[in-house]
């Protein structure tokens, strides 16, 4: 690769063109670097949106005319959630691998928070079951409670990473959980599917627009 050392000798427009090239090179390289070092919010929101929408719609359709969804519906739902968890972990860890320092420590603590949150939440649900909670109560507690855990973790993440979109999503999920519990089973499943899953998908779309808009603004700025 040859050095552009001669661009400094050429006057006027040539120097301007070379400068524009260099600025574009910088911007493209930085966009590529940032994209490769952070998890892609669009992918994560999209995966969870699909998992909630599909999983909860399966539970909703299976509960029609029955007291509870059938066992197979619960398995499909669990499979969707498990797939989303695996994707989130693999994607996040691959993107953030090879970095060290403040961001890496913040990210690691955030990951541990999720694990601790759901581990203790499942113990909490176990305690309720042992105390004699019936299936309706367990259904309400597990879905509403999960929204509480997810919503609060998103709010924490918004604080940790300075991400306003996470704050909006976290607030929304908290509301979804509250409403889903208040309306009672089986409507809970429909609320989770449409408002919860739908909310994730809307955020995925919003994030995509932000990326597109940022890219376009960068291109225009580079044209000087």
């Amino acid at each position: 690769m040859t050095d552009h050392t001669d661009s400094a000798d050429r006057p006027g427009d040539d120097a301007g063109l070379a400068a524009a090239d260099s600025l574009r090179l910088i911007r493209e390289q930085q966009d590529r670097a940032r994209a490769a070092l952070e998890p892609d919010a669009r992918a994560l929101y999209g995966v969870w949106g699909v998992a909630w929408l599909a999983g909860y719609l399966v539970l909703w359709s299976s509960v029609q005319g029955r007291e509870q969804p059938e066992a197979w519906a619960f398995w499909v739902f669990a499979g969707a959630i498990a797939a989303a968890v695996v994707f989130t972990m693999v994607h996040s860890m691959t993107r953030t691998a090879g970095t060290r320092g403040v961001s890496a420590r913040t990210g690691a603590m955030y990951g541990w928070s999720w694990m601790l949150g759901f581990l203790t939440f499942s113990m909490f649900l176990g305690g309720l079951a042992r105390a004699g909670a019936d299936s309706e109560l367990m259904g309400l507690a597990s879905n509403g409670g999960a929204c509480l855990v997810v919503g609060l973790l998103y709010l924490g993440g918004a604080v940790a990473f300075g991400e306003r979109s996470l704050f909006v999503l976290g607030t929304w999920i908290l509301l979804v959980g509250a409403v889903a519990t208040l309306v009672g089973l089986p409507l809970t499943y429909l609320v989770m599917a449409l408002a919860g899953g739908g909310g994730f998908l809307v955020m995925a779309g919003v994030e995509h627009l932000r990326v597109v808009r940022r890219r376009r603004a960068g291109e225009e700025a580079g044209r000087g």
Binding site: A18, L23, S103
Partner: protein, 100 residues
């Protein structure tokens, strides 16, 4: 004046190295293999460029061990960040000057 462009940064390959490291937050470092992958360069090529940048005081090279494997982490120094900002300002100046 077009001669204000920093010759250490001004080579296209080194510019990409500096731009990539500048995308990190001030408190973070990048491992050599990750940086190499981001830049799509050979290890030898990247090492040469990093040595030049380190000699100029723009890049901090930290050699450490992870378990028993040696690992090298890279980051821009304060001096390097400032030099990159000055370089970008010089480029923007050239761009504006070309219009007139």
């Amino acid at each position: 004046m077009a001669d204000a462009l920093d010759p250490v940064i001004h080579a296209p390959a080194r510019l990409r190295v500096v731009a990539t490291l500048a995308a990190l937050d001030a408190g973070d470092e990048l491992s050599f293999p990750k940086l190499q992958k981001l830049l799509d360069m050979t290890a030898g090529n990247l090492s040469t460029h990093l040595r030049k940048l380190e000699d100029a005081g723009y890049v901090r090279v930290t050699k450490t061990h992870e378990g028993r494997t040696p690992a090298t982490y890279l980051a821009l120094t304060q001096h390097g960040r400032r030099a990159f900002e000055d370089y970008q300002e010089a480029l923007t100046g050239l761009l504006r000057g070309a219009g007139s």
